[in-house]
Subunit: 143 residues, 2 copies
């Protein structure tokens, strides 16, 4: 194991589930649900953050209501070995929301939100330096 083992009890899981549903849920309300005092819950949340179990507090946006109208998944097949260069591009490119090295069909899978075709095209141009790709446009988000 990479990191030292983190032991989460069922109360921690309950707290995580609460915050997943509503990260602004009040300590008071959480503490009632999990049968602890508010300071105890706060201490557990702090620990979950410092151990990295909770990466960060965020919001989920309906991208279709912004002007990020193109959502797609790109499967990349490397044609050279410049993984470091690619990963640098991935990390810096703001249209790439998520990226995984995969085993199966292809080498990398990228989740992309682009405002328009031009922005998508620009990304694809850059990616083509590293390999070929398969572009899968999201027609509708089921879940």
């Amino acid at each position: 194991m990479n990191d030292k083992t983190i032991n989460l009890d069922s109360t921690d899981i309950q707290i995580i589930d609460c915050l997943k549903m509503n990260s602004r849920m009040q300590l008071k309300d959480i503490s009632e649900l999990v049968h602890l005092s508010a300071p105890a819950v706060a201490a557990r949340i702090d620990k979950l953050e410092s151990t990295g179990v909770i990466k960060h507090f965020t919001i989920e946006i309906d991208e279709s209501k912004l002007n990020n109208s193109i959502q797609c998944f790109i499967i990349l097949f490397m044609k050279n070995l410049d993984h470091l260069g690619l990963q640098k591009l991935i990390k810096s490119h703001y249209t790439i929301k998520e990226a995984h090295k995969i085993s199966g069909h292809g080498c990398y899978l990228l989740k992309v939100h682009a405002k328009n075709q031009e922005e998508l095209n620009a990304l694809l141009d850059q990616l083509s330096l590293y390999g070929t790709y398969q572009l899968n446009i999201s027609i509708s988000k089921i879940k």
Copy 2:
């Protein structure tokens, strides 16, 4: 357009960016950044929620630190026309974290977190009723 047009000004975008980075950021701090009063920011956030731009307040979890150790992307190729049945399965299955109807290679793309191989297998069995699939296991999450 499906919904009535939502007009977001640059202040709304700023507020969204703040909350994306930290959904628990205090109104006081946001209001200083965007040069508005705290009640004005609260009203805008309420509006963003009620119009559905903000879907919900949540946390990002490091799944590798829980026991959801398998992350994968499944591309599904339908072999029948029971899309409704499949979508019902997708919505109810807790290992499926995200699902898109796609154009390109395949019909659906699913993002899955499973605790172990058994859980993944069980899902694959159910999916095979609807079509064939391509399984792409995430080796590492770059971003």
